[in-house]
Amino acid sequence: MINDATTIFKRPESLSETVTHYCPGCTHGIIHRMVAESLDELNLRERAVGVAPVGCSVFIYNYFNCDFMEAPHGRAPALATGFKRTRPDMICFTYQGDGDLASIGMGEIVHAANRGEKITVIFVNNAIYGMTGGQMAPTTMPGQKTTTSPFGRDTNLAGYPIRMAELLATLRTPSFIARCSTQTPMHIVAAKKIIKKAFRLQKEEKCFSLVEVLSTCPTNWGITPCDATQWIIDNMEPYYKLGVLKDPEKGEG
């Protein structure tokens, strides 16, 4: 009955066949796939331009079948601004880690959101600097041990983790801001819907959109992949609440 077989699951066209360099249990790969599926489903691949960050996902352009530029650390929203203003007919997205977006790139993301740039930002929050070997990030949890906070993040010295989605949702300019997660298939299904909506809003030339995705870094958290998903549930999710924080389609823009 092989002739009647129908494909119900395949690699999105927007993803290339290159094997990723991500560690076992890292959810960067899942997030890549959700972005790629969204581009495919909205028929955007051929006019999409991605902006790669500096961080573990710097090689994202090797895994996608669309055009890419590679930003200096933290500056992706400024590159996306420049590109999108010059080519408003194209689709432009950034993909950034938490060190990239919430630390060195804080200025660029706040102002791009505030200007209402019609770009989409995928913000991967894994509460640590992955690429450089596990240093403390602005999103590192209180008490969390990293290579630069070996006794745990001391909130007296380092303050509390920055909730980027909430911070950006305070801006008056209309935008779509949401937080989702990757720890269970159910979360992934929900996250995919949100990411797709973020791209749809750009396609419809509506507004700035940012999706914060809670992500694992078993390597630098020093735990197994399974424990890492549980660690998100136990430690990150209570602090980084999931949901849509701002939605122009619900009058919350």
Binding site: Y61, D67, M69, A78, G82, K84, T86, G107
Partner: protein, 358 residues
């Protein structure tokens, strides 16, 4: 086209429009904020884009993103602002992107002052940011030349896919002079025609504009690809002007930008009044520097010394020394901090250099 009386900063803005460069990103800083004040209404008239960025760090990176489109993009700023763009300039050079940066220099270091200076010669010609790269650097001496070189800068940026910088001092920006623009305004580059720009992976492989090469062989290759471009520039793009060169010259002065105009006056006066003959070489491209041409002038038997006169504490003089290769004594004179030496000051420098008492 009829001549117009225009302030340098506004003329530079119009020159960019004339060159089909309609994508402009900037952050206010004296003494060049008039460029943004002009282009913020002029660009929308011609379908261009202007973003007042949150910082010069952002400006540099907006240029980077915009340059990836294949359209012509540029900024104007002044010394401290240009410092903040250096990371992005390095990345753009590494990724082979055309971009034009115009630095209307003020005195430094630090916050410095807001008056004319030429303190950014090193920064402009020796790299500025990190890594093995160069920017092509042009130095206008009048408002008309600022217009002409702005138009040329975009052609050179596209030709070499490399950052091109114009350095002018505050006088170039603030002075009003009569200028003429070409009759014909250029259309914007069509991104669809580009064989390198990010215009959508439709019916072709995806394109990546990047500067990261973890494989040392590849990084070495990219760096020497850049070096080859600089060699081509050295062969084809050197520009300079000579003034009052004759066998009677005792001294060869080297000077660029508006400083060279003061020197022309001083050369005329000291020749007429005191019978001292001085020649001037004015580099128009500061990188690539007209080094061989300077050498050829300097070694002429009548030349006793070479004198670099700058509005700095002495920066270009190091290149002058390098290219004169010890064949003649090289000296420096100048002021900085916003002080523009007068023709009388320059005559004093000339006499001092030649050991003439007055």
């Amino acid at each position: 086209m009829a001549k117009k009386l225009m302030k340098g900063n506004e003329a530079i803005g119009e020159a960019a429009v004339c060159a089909g460069a309609l994508n402009y990103f900037a952050y206010p800083i004296t003494p060049q904020s008039e460029v943004a004040e002009y282009l913020c209404w002029r660009l929308p008239e011609v379908g261009g884009a202007f973003v007042q960025a949150e910082s010069e760090v952002a400006v540099g990176n907006m240029l980077f993103g915009a340059a990836c489109s294949g359209k012509r993009v540029f900024t104007t700023s002044s010394s401290p602002g240009i410092s903040l763009m250096q990371e992005a300039i390095s990345y753009m050079a590494g990724a082979h992107l055309p971009v034009v940066l115009i630095n209307i220099m003020r005195g430094g270091p630090g916050l410095g002052g807001i008056l004319p200076a030429q303190s950014d010669y090193f920064q402009a010609t020796k790299g500025g940011g990190h890594g093995d790269y160069r920017t092509l650097v042009l130095a206008p001496a009048s408002v008309q030349e600022a217009v002409d070189l702005t138009i040329l800068a975009f052609d050179l940026a596209d030709k070499y896919r490399n950052p091109v910088m114009i350095i002018g001092d505050a006088m170039i920006g603030q002075m009003m002079e009569s200028v003429e623009f070409p009759e014909k305004y250029r259309e914007q580059n069509d991104p669809a025609e580009s064989d390198w720009a990010l215009n959508g992976a439709k019916g072709r492989e995806s394109r990546i504009l990047k500067s990261l090469y973890l494989d040392p062989e590849k990084l070495d290759e990219n760096s020497f690809m850049l070096a080859n471009k600089y060699d081509m520039m050295k062969k084809d793009e050197i520009r300079y002007e000579l003034y009052n060169i004759s066998e009677k010259n005792r001294l060869l002065v080297v000077s660029y930008g508006t400083m060279s105009r003061v020197i022309q006056t001083a050369i005329d006066e000291i020749g007429e009044e005191e019978g001292i003959s001085v020649g001037l070489m004015r580099p128009i491209t500061l990188y690539p520097f007209p080094g061989q041409q300077l050498y050829d002038e300097a070694v002429k038997p009548n030349i006793e010394k070479v004198l670099s006169i700058e509005m700095s504490v002495g920066q270009m003089v190091e290149d002058v020394e390098r290219f004169v290769r010890g064949k003649k004594p090289v000296e420096f004179s100048g002021r900085t901090g916003g002080i523009v030496p007068t023709p009388d000051d320059v005559k004093g420098y000339i006499r001092k250099s030649l050991g003439i008492e007055k």
